[in-house]
């Protein structure tokens, strides 16, 4: 029988440009915070899964170099590097490995030290070398072109997108780890910020951070002894799309991988009415327009209704389904960590450990990862054991 698996502890570094730590110290900060929170040490961990986009920092097999920083001592060490989704993919891998009984206590660590690498060259290597690299415009140009399709389909306005930016940076003020805390940010400020690639402005887009996140997973055999309120995994779904960047015609407007993952994830977790059945969502929104589109793909609102959804107040912290009380990716983005941070934040909400940005009475939390070639991970975490 498959064992039930739960997140039992989390730890994050502050997301910022970190000149004071190298990568080994950065990940140990997150790991130590995670383990210290439960009076555990590395000796209590059975296996490790590291997630990192190693071409960003230019360190091949970086997890093997870091083995001693995490006290490996002959234990299993896994490494995933699936792009933006890597963090949540490590969580999904932990779920399967633990559920099948292959490992017991698994520490997932996602990290990125983007200030150390050359992000532009690294992003260039995401493009297919034969087909896509010769014509490139970086992540923002790429994203903005997709946004035009979404705007055309949905009619969302720059003001509605700006509201997402305002929500994120104000929420971030209640998250000690977030990089962009802007208590006084206004829609006007967003609309006046520098245009990066039409229609995406500076304040519409996520920052580039250094950071690490650690989440400890364990099984029903000892989760309750490790954490007073484990966050049980009820679904861990991954979905992809076609292979090349231009393949999905309505990539943001109808994010096929997210829609697919949502259908399967909700079915596994028994979610029928998201607003009613989900108490909080931590989604991977690389930009404001993406969040609006994701409301639709996650069935938080009807197709085309993303703009009306942010207008309604439902995704605000005091709304019926708060989205990204942590400030989300718009407030902190260290690629290898970011999707795991969504899982960590969702787990914290279930465990009642989100501090100032805690949403009351969270029974069910949703976490999503986005990255690669419009890929999606989707996890559902609950206070109740499956």
């Amino acid at each position: 029988m498959a064992r039930a698996v739960a997140a039992v502890a989390t730890g994050q570094t502050d997301y910022a440009i970190r000149k004071d730590v190298g990568i080994p110290e950065l990940i140990r900060e997150a790991i130590d915070r995670c383990l210290d929170s439960r009076d555990l040490t590395l000796k209590d961990v059975d296996a490790f899964i590291l997630g990192n986009m190693e071409m960003f920092e230019g360190i091949n097999m970086v997890e093997h170099w870091l083995a001693d920083a995490i006290g490996i001592g002959g234990k299993p060490l896994w490494k995933l590097n699936n792009g933006g989704t890597v963090g949540s993919s490590t969580a999904a891998a932990a779920y399967y490995l633990a559920s099948a009984g292959f490992h017991n206590r698994i520490l997932c660590v996602g990290f990125e030290k983007q200030s150390e690498g050359s992000p532009q060259s690294s992003i260039t290597t995401v493009a297919d070398p034969i087909w896509e690299r010769s014509i490139m415009a970086g992540a923002i140009g790429n994203f903005a072109a997709m946004t035009s399709v979404y705007v055309n389909e949905s009619g969302v306005t720059p003001e509605q997108a700006a509201k997402v930016a305002v929500k994120a940076r104000r929420n971030a003020c209640k998250n000690p780890h977030a990089q962009l805390k802007m208590p006084d940010i206004t829609v006007e400020q967003v609309l006046e910020s520098k245009m990066l690639a039409y229609p995406v402005r500076m304040l519409d887009f996520c920052p580039s951070s250094d950071g690490a996140c650690a989440v400890l997973f364990s099984t029903e055999d000892d989760a309750k002894s490790l954490s007073p309120n484990p966050a049980w995994v009820h679904a861990a779904v991954t979905a992809h799309d076609q292979q090349y960047m231009g393949d999905s015609p309505k990539r943001l407007a109808e994010m096929r991988s997210l829609i697919e993952a949502r259908k399967r994830g909700y079915a596994y977790a028994g979610i029928e009415d998201p607003i009613r059945d989900i108490d909080v969502a931590e989604i991977y929104e690389p930009a404001t327009y993406a969040e609006l589109a994701m409301y639709e793909c996650l069935a938080f609102c009807e197709k085309g209704g993303g703009g009306r959804h942010i207008d309604s107040g439902i995704p605000e912290m005091d709304g019926a389904l708060p989205v990204n009380p942590s400030g989300g990716v718009l407030s902190a983005n260290a690629v290898g960590a970011t999707a795991l941070a969504r899982v960590a934040e969702a787990a914290m909400q279930v465990m009642g450990e989100a501090g100032e940005h805690q949403i009351p009475n969270v029974k069910t939390a949703l976490a999503t990862g986005y990255g690669g070639n419009a890929w999606t991970d989707l996890l559902v975490l609950r206070a109740e054991k499956p």
Binding site: I135, S148, V149, D241
Partner: protein
């Protein structure tokens, strides 16, 4: 220690690669370069895919034939980019602003990213007809950059 006291160790890693274009790309780029024609792959279900590839992901069948698409096209998506970007192929900065977007060749089911010869985003729209502007034959190398950019056809 104060922030200034922490060292940064600069380092350059130069990774060189020699990518085999493979069966589909070789045929595509040779035809593009020598004949200025665009060849996509059609699968048994009728999906026409660019870049051409061995398997159609929409139906999980091997693609079965070559089919010419374009050269005329329409915009599947667009933007104008204002931030500097280093062209990975030349190492030089691309002049900003520049138009960029998703190009759907007539007859094709997928889009490809390319440059657009327009810097006023308000003139662009989804579905706008565009046509490729080719580099001179002598300057072509067998890549998507053999098309210099796409020119909007305003009526």
């Amino acid at each position: 220690m104060s922030e200034d006291e922490f060292l940064r160790l600069p380092q350059q890693v130069t990774l060189e690669y020699r990518f085999a274009a493979g069966k589909y790309a070789s045929h595509f780029f040779t035809t593009l370069k020598n004949e200025g024609r665009l060849l996509a792959r059609r699968c048994p279900s009728g999906h026409v895919l660019l870049p051409p590839r061995p398997v159609c992901g929409l139906c999980n069948l091997e693609t079965s034939e070559w089919v010419e698409v374009g050269p005329n096209a329409s915009l599947g998506g667009f933007t104008v980019v204002y931030i500097p970007f280093t062209d990975p192929m030349t190492g030089e900065g691309r002049p900003v602003p520049y138009g960029f977007g998703l190009i759907r060749f007539d007859g094709c089911d997928t889009n490809v990213y390319h440059l657009i010869d327009e810097t006023d985003p308000l003139k662009l729209r989804i579905g706008l007809p565009v046509e490729p502007v080719w580099r001179d034959q002598a300057d072509r190398t067998g890549s998507f950059a053999d098309i210099r950019h796409f020119k909007p056809i305003y009526t």
